[in-house]
Symmetry: C2
Subunit: 526 residues, 2 copies
């Protein structure tokens, strides 16, 4: 297997030389209708990835297939799930998919079968959650816990929070909301204060999430919460559990009621499938719902093994993104889920994508001479339509769009106004936007003119359920992974976050000089 820089690939040179597709032209009339029918890849769980409005045609797709083959993308994926050291910077395996299913060989590391280890933790968390729900694990007064509050930041916060919010309404109408979930993340003391004010501490389990057990914000907020529990006259050790690695200071620690383990082979931003998501989601929704999320993801992981890009939605999505970024020169991607429940999913993808692929060196630590990960941003539709879509439609930059749509809403409540339901209005809007972006509109008044030619794709699911949510999560994880392979970078470390940490410590130790001293004064730290 060869790990080569993007610019060394013959297929990349072909991509650069290939005729650029005019989206407006190809999406007009009957040909556009034909593309929508044909440029549609089945995903797992009854979903589809439709890329009709992307800037590709059969010629570009043929080169993207060559690229996938030449860059050995599926072979690299296989190496990853079979346990090679894919995270070269930190010399670690990359095993988050193994939480969801067995994709290849048994992976033996640290003297154990890793799949068995992850499953054993899932079982322990399930048993713990079931006991909490059954009132077998209670607070000191023997009363049931009603709320679970996660204390974590970055991967310990964004993914689990996005998943919780995505299913909270669904769980309510399906009578499987066992406990309400809250989240404390920011070291800003007002975050913990505000969240604690919304809680009944006496009936809350707090989940401390830090793989290393050394994350400044999380330890600080943990201590903040401990103080609050003590002030309420309660014993923190009866209200807190930990999610951490087996070697961290949080592990096997009598300060916690219990602890659930992950390991160094699961990066924070990929950790929603591990105990980082598993503990809180099992408590909030019941272990069966968390298991269904994993099943949905596993099915999508299996799709990602396909060599044919027309059968592998994550790989196709990844390659179109590389083409847009490196050949067409687009620097951003907007993620636009037409579902209010997915309100924080773009924030999760922002971390997933930008922390993974915002790199300037290849996997061997050598500087590269091409652009890598784009900026990711987004808000739910239709809200975004009344906000930043103006720039997407008529701004001076082209920004590729990633829509996500659902045929049905989650909660069994809708209203018929002017002969259509709200869900029909929502779906009509996403369909209309894709066509508006692609086809534009001529107008003699140039202020009302839409150039069109603005590329987008859409993932369509029947409904946002645990399974489809898991599949969407896995789709983007795998897309980011394939793009990292294409760029020949390490998508699994994050050295770019270290310098700030070091300098912040220097400020707190007042061991600073130059600009750092003056900025610290400005912020009244000295």
């Amino acid at each position: 297997m060869k790990w080569e820089n993007l610019t060394l690939l013959d297929s990349y040179k072909k991509l650069q030389e290939a005729a650029v597709v005019d989206v407006k032209a190809v999406m007009a009339g009957e040909n556009g209708a034909k593309r929508v029918k044909e440029y549609c890849v089945p995903m797992s769980n009854g979903m589809v990835y439709n890329f009709a409005s992307k800037q590709v045609d059969d010629d570009i797709l043929a080169i993207l297939q060559e690229f996938a083959d030449e860059a050995e993308l599926t072979e690299k994926y296989a190496a990853l799930y079979n346990g090679e050291v894919i995270n070269t910077g930190e010399k670690r395996l990359v095993l988050h998919q193994l939480c969801r299913g067995q994709l290849g060989d048994d992976v033996i590391a640290d003297g154990m079968n890793k799949r068995e280890f992850y499953v054993s933790q899932q079982k322990r968390a399930a048993e713990f959650a079931n006991k909490v729900h059954a009132g077998e694990i209670t607070n000191e007064a023997g009363e049931k816990f009603t709320t679970v509050c996660q204390i974590g930041i970055g991967g310990g916060d964004l993914g689990p929070r996005a998943l919780y919010l995505a299913l909270e309404g669904w769980a309510k109408v399906n009578n499987t909301l066992k406990m309400e979930a809250k989240f404390i993340s920011n070291v800003d003391p007002d975050d913990a204060t505000a969240v604690l004010a919304q809680l009944d501490i006496a009936h809350t389990i707090f989940v401390m999430v830090s793989k290393s057990g050394t994350t400044l914000e999380t330890l600080t907020n943990g201590a903040f919460v401990e103080n609050a529990i003590k002030k309420a006259g309660l014993d923190p050790a009866k209200h807190m559990i930990a999610v951490t690695s087996a070697t961290s200071p949080l592990a096997n620690n009598p300060m916690y009621l219990d602890a659930f383990y992950m390991d160094d082979y699961i990066g924070g931003r990929y950790s929603s499938s591990s105990m980082v998501g598993g503990a809180i989601l099992s408590l909030a929704f019941g272990p069966e719902v968390f298991a269904a999320i994993l099943d949905g993801a596993a099915a999508e992981d299996a799709k990602a093994k396909e060599k044919d890009i027309r059968k592998n939605p994550a790989m196709l999505d990844a390659l179109i993104g590389v083409y847009e970024r490196n050949v067409l020169g687009y620097g951003m991607t907007a993620v636009l889920p037409y579902s209010q429940a997915m309100s924080r999913f773009p924030a999760h993808l922002q971390q997933l994508d930008m922390e993974s692929n915002g790199k300037s060196v290849n996997r061997f630590g050598e500087p590269i001479d091409y652009v890598t990960g784009p900026v990711i941003f987004g808000e739910p539709g239709t809200n975004g339509q009344h906000s930043f879509y103006q720039l997407l439609h008529q701004g001076t930059d082209v920004i590729p769009l990633q829509f996500i749509g659902f045929k049905n809403n989650q909660m069994d409540n809708d209203v018929l106004i002017e002969d259509t339901t709200s869900q029909q209005k929502l779906s009509a809007n996403v369909a209309a936007q894709i066509v508006a972006f692609a086809c534009g509109k001529d107008d003699d008044n140039k202020n009302k003119y839409f150039a069109g030619g603005r590329p987008s794709s859409i993932i369509v699911a029947d409904k946002l359920t645990p399974e489809t949510l898991g599949a969407i999560l896995a789709h983007f994880e795998n897309k980011v992974m394939f793009q990292g392979f294409a760029w020949n970078i390490n998508s699994f470390d994050q050295e770019g976050v270290q310098l700030g940490k070091i300098l912040a410590k220097a400020v707190l130790a007042q061991n600073t000089d130059g600009a750092l001293t003056e900025y610290s004064k400005l912020l009244s730290i000295f």
Copy 2:
């Protein structure tokens, strides 16, 4: 006064030819410390705008001053607040600043003094809110209302929501949280369903916000809420008020308990200072708090009249942004408030900036040949540090950063851990980040190497209060306005949102063809 395209200005040509500043070099050592002290502009309300880490020096600043003079930026601002037709596309005045204070001449339009009109509405909303708080206006059972829920989208949602969240914690500790506020925005029926489930309808006042009275999402959600009120056996007309223009179908309508008015001279994204923000914020926090927000904004509006860019933080910020966008070629800006209370402020700025300046024609409707508004995104620090900062530090694109920091937190609750408070840790982090981005770090291991040279600025306030929040709001509104003047575009219309609306209606009427039919089928609308 001349309205000329950017590229015709002599000072712009000078900017293009000026030596580019190396942030890493100028921010090193004692010179960096000196810049932090000197490149600091006083704002109103005891705040400062510090631009030491921006890619400017005295030479660039001198040209930016020439630019401000040549483009007649303060003259154009004066024309705006004195009531000229600045919104050329819609042939409207632009008067949002007039809600906050009298900056120039009396503005007479539609047969009235507009400042008096806005103030009269503020007084009416204040009286209404006071009566609700005093229990003089009650529900049908004679009980006090406890909750206020806004139904609006875009400008009717993002700004008011961001402001409410920014002050909710502050209001709690200052005993001025009169009513809890909630928001329904998305046409997704799950949004209204989920929010209504969190409410006690019998004790809630709903605020319908639509200037035209024709916004699809808001009318639909209004009907949704009406149904819910009726289902609860209550009279909607006793639970709903309207914020709208005097000529809309919502005005003088017996369906509403009362109505508060704005007009066509206040664009949605600039409407937080009007009744769009005023009704809900007066109800939530009391009229005095809303008045304090306006006072804070008015003080900052006054600063924006200064001709000297070193005394006009909004204009300086705007011009540095234009320099970064058009000369240095940076396409995005990240907004990074170090305050959890400002969690939705970046989403508001995203609308404010991208909807205002995402344009490809000048104010006369002529195509332009230079780039305009950047993409805006952001999340609160320290959360962002554990998410997308990796790309900001080590990605292949330079992304200018707009930090916002506070010396003190809002809620009187903090914890001392390892000799520092959480607030000190928060402040240490923002100081450290600015220096890390500017100065970088050499390392033989290129994976741990930080190139530095990544420009940022910071707004520092003592505390996030109604006054400083109002000032920050006005700062960004005025920055966006000055950039629109610099680009010679109309920052006050939004024609780019129209096409999607038309096509969505076509879908709902099943009056479609080509790709629109097929996308509609894919989303099961047909």
